[in-house]
């Protein structure tokens, strides 16, 4: 048993950390978040050159053929810098087509998704209101409906841009009457997507924790760094607890996705619920540590808080995932929930 990254995975992580730190500096993220289109095509091209869009897509379809763990590593790092990028939406489309598409559909769409040259976007949601990042500019849309899914050409779909609090991503409501059904079961792909999103939430929590800890060491009140006061330091210890617990659950779910698929449904919902709660509570707690300055637009924290809050709703709210957990751990089917 080895619950840690192997050398190759470490390499992916450190390359991603380095690349993203230089490309998505806080001032760049702010610039994109305040622009109408938060996606920078030149940066997307660079990610494509690194082979990221195809990381978890099979080699026969032009991807790197790696597992959900590697996808999760990238997604955590993307969350850590809060990169505005169509990456995750494209990855979701890849997961759904690879998981549930026909051979013909896979051959047609996956190479473009893997290279990033003809990216996809997926609306995956058990919620009534589908939201999908990065639908604009996508070559193919994948809509998840109940147990199934369908492929829709962007020209045949109704795209309505949503004006959400998180402006580091472009969100849309998508609807389409027609479309080409995916013949397979989308459930495992949807679960993997949840795990990828959970990883993003872990990255956001980690970043907010580090920012708050650094501030608590330097900010002085009553002649001491505020981090010396237990009211503050215990809050920060709690933030570490939230972040690490979410991380353990997310990494396990990522491993289970490919190595122990029977455990995936429960593990995915546990990870998504816990990581969403962690990201929202840690960013909120960080705001309290920063005090007034954390409430200002000029401080970067609010971008993390807003992405965490929207991310918690995507692919099912924490309450919905806990309801699924309750059924899967032995309470049986419950009634209707939010």
């Amino acid at each position: 048993m080895n619950f840690d990254f192997n050398d190759e995975q470490r390499e992916i992580k450190s390359t991603a950390r380095e690349f993203l730190a230089s490309r998505f500096k806080p001032e760049k993220v702010r610039e994109l978040a305040e622009a109408d289109n938060p996606y920078d095509e030149a940066l997307w091209k660079e990610m494509c050159e690194l082979g990221w869009p195809g990381i978890a897509i099979s080699e026969e379809h032009g991807g790197q053929g790696l597992d959900t763990v590697e996808l999760v590593i990238l997604q955590e790092e993307l969350g850590y810098v809060l990169a505005p990028s169509p990456f995750v939406s494209n990855a979701f489309a890849g997961l759904l087509i690879e998981g549930a598409g026909s051979e013909e559909q896979k051959a047609r769409w996956l190479p473009g998704i893997a290279s990033g040259e003809a990216r996809g976007a997926a609306a995956i949601t058990p919620d009534a209101e589908p939201i999908v990042g990065a639908a604009q500019g996508a070559s193919i849309l994948v809509l998840n409906e109940g147990e199934g899914g369908k492929l829709v050409e962007p020209a045949d779909a109704n795209l309505e841009r949503l004006d959400l609090i998180d402006t580091t991503r472009a969100y849309f409501r998508v609807s389409a009457d027609g479309g080409e059904p995916l013949p397979g079961d989308v459930a495992p792909a949807v679960d993997k997507a949840m795990v990828a999103l959970a990883a993003e939430q872990v990255g956001i929590a980690q970043r907010a924790l580090e920012m708050a800890v650094a501030y608590a060491k330097e900010r002085e009140q009553f002649d001491r760094p505020i981090g010396a006061y237990q009211a503050v330091s215990h809050r920060l210890a709690g933030m570490l607890w939230d972040t690490e617990e979410a991380r353990s659950l997310t990494y396990f779910a990522a491993w289970a996705a490919d190595a122990e698929p029977g455990s995936l449904p429960l593990a995915a919902s546990m990870a998504k619920a816990r990581a969403s709660d962690a990201a929202t509570s840690v960013t909120n707690a960080a705001l309290q540590v920063f005090g007034g300055i954390g409430f200002t637009w000029e401080h970067d924290l609010h971008f993390l808080l807003k992405r965490a809050t929207v991310g918690a709703r995507m692919l099912g709210s924490p309450s919905r995932h806990r309801e699924r957990v309750a059924s899967l751990v032995g309470l049986g089917a419950g009634g209707a929930t939010r």
Binding site: M1, N2, F3, D4, F5, N6, Q9, V69, V213, A216, K217, R224, P225, G227, A228, Y229, Q230, S233, H234, L236, A237, G238, L240, W241, E244, E245, A246, R247, S248, L249, Y251, F252, A254, W255, A256, A259, E260, A267, M270, A273, R274, S319, H321, R322, E323, V325, A326, V329, G330, L331, G332, G334, G335, T337
Partner: protein
């Protein structure tokens, strides 16, 4: 990343599981504390005879030399089988490892085997009425006397004191030295008139713990561990002697309790209540988080020698989850769960101590803040 067991780990687990199936002593017999203790002593003897006592101890000292992962498997399998605890748990987990790490050859020869066989029970004399979290402020005095020491003072929260032959005792041997420097670690014979044991009744009604009143008790020089003045360092290694697999077995115990809670909710018609369901799911997630965090900590410890940050929060996770679980059981179980002889009432009350015993949650948060996050100390 590979969370499956290696073939060696699997065969370790299978061998243990088969042995437990054949040798499980059955439920703890009724008849009071003494009957239960003798039952646990017999159980440990059985474990020892088959080479399952002291799994983490090196083979040369009578242990099994198990890896950290195997120790975790051991803890989890015992919890899974609902096996009783071995009688001499403090000797196995703390006393033996301290003697192995800091003891002389004579001490290893003298003390280790009777710990494994449960022939000699060990207790721990660290805390005092005025020294709880601030252990290094302890006041129990050790005065030099020809060839040995005379100990005077008071200790508290001493589990198994009434059964114990040996007490791991930290006392102040040099009143003039700075507080962490003037301490010495002794192995005190409990069978002397100068040591009085008084049981402490706790809120559950039972008496797991004791007070020790020590009036001029004698300890020969050969029972000093780690040398005069090194008591703090020796005590710290005992406390830091991470009980590998603790998280794994604690998580297993909790998931068994969660299973019972789910049955209770079904019996009382609350299995479909959305709030109960949400709380059960939170518990299930917390338990799984503890289990996985323990596995990450084990991996980190095997690689770099110390557990990562996830290891330092395991005790916090366990105590808060166990408390929340028993609170929900009281809520779900209704009036019957509140009756004085109810199992849930007992667990609810007993779990109140979880956030105090073995390091209070408040102090653990200080430790996480200072050592993991590097925040400044208040002191």
């Amino acid at each position: 990343m590979d969370l499956s067991l290696t073939p060696e780990e699997e065969s370790f687990r299978d061998e243990l599981r088969a042995w437990l199936e054949e040798n499980h002593p059955g439920p703890i017999p009724q008849g009071g504390d003494q009957v239960q203790f003798e039952f646990e002593r017999a159980w440990q003897r059985k474990l020892h005879d088959a080479g399952w006592a002291g799994v983490s101890w090196p083979k040369e000292y009578g242990g099994r030399g198990a890896t950290l992962i195997e120790q975790a498997i051991f803890g989890a399998e015992l919890a899974r089988a609902k096996a009783p605890r071995p009688a001499n748990v403090l000797g196995l987990v703390m006393g033996g490892p301290v003697v192995i790490a800091h003891g002389t050859e004579e001490q290893k020869e003298r003390f280790l085997e009777p710990i494994l066989s449960a022939e000699e029970i060990w207790c721990q004399g660290f805390s005092e009425p005025e020294s709880g979290s601030d252990l290094a402020s302890l006041k129990t005095k050790a005065m030099k006397e020809n060839g040995g020491w005379r100990i005077t003072g008071q200790k508290v929260w001493t589990t198994f004191a009434h059964e114990a032959k040996w007490c791991m005792l930290v006392a102040r041997s040099d009143g003039d030295a700075p507080k962490h420097k003037g301490l010495t670690y002794f192995l005190m014979d409990m069978e002397q008139d100068e040591v009085e044991v008084r049981p402490l009744r706790q809120i559950t009604g039972e008496a797991e713990f004791n007070e020790l009143f020590i009036e001029n008790a004698y300890v020969p020089d050969e029972n000093v561990v780690g040398g005069e003045g090194n008591g703090w360092m020796v005590a710290i290694t005992t406390l830091m002697n991470e009980r590998a697999g603790l998280g794994a077995s604690a998580a297993l115990g909790l998931s068994q309790a969660l299973g019972e809670l789910i049955d209770l909710a079904k019996q009382t018609g609350l299995a479909e209540d959305p709030i109960v369901r949400d709380k059960v799911a939170r518990l299930a997630i917390g338990i799984e988080g503890l289990r996985l965090g323990a596995m990450r900590a084990l991996t980190a410890t095997m690689k770099v020698g110390i557990p990562g940050p996830e290891g330092s929060i395991a005790k916090l996770q366990w105590s808060s989850t166990n408390q929340a679980l028993t609170e929900l059981a009281i809520e779900v179980g209704g009036e019957e769960a509140l009756e004085r002889d109810s199992m849930w009432a007992y667990r609810y009350l007993r779990s109140r101590a979880n956030s105090i015993e073995g390091g209070t949650s408040d102090v653990l948060k200080n430790i996480v803040a200072e050592r993991v996050l590097g925040l400044p100390k208040l002191r």
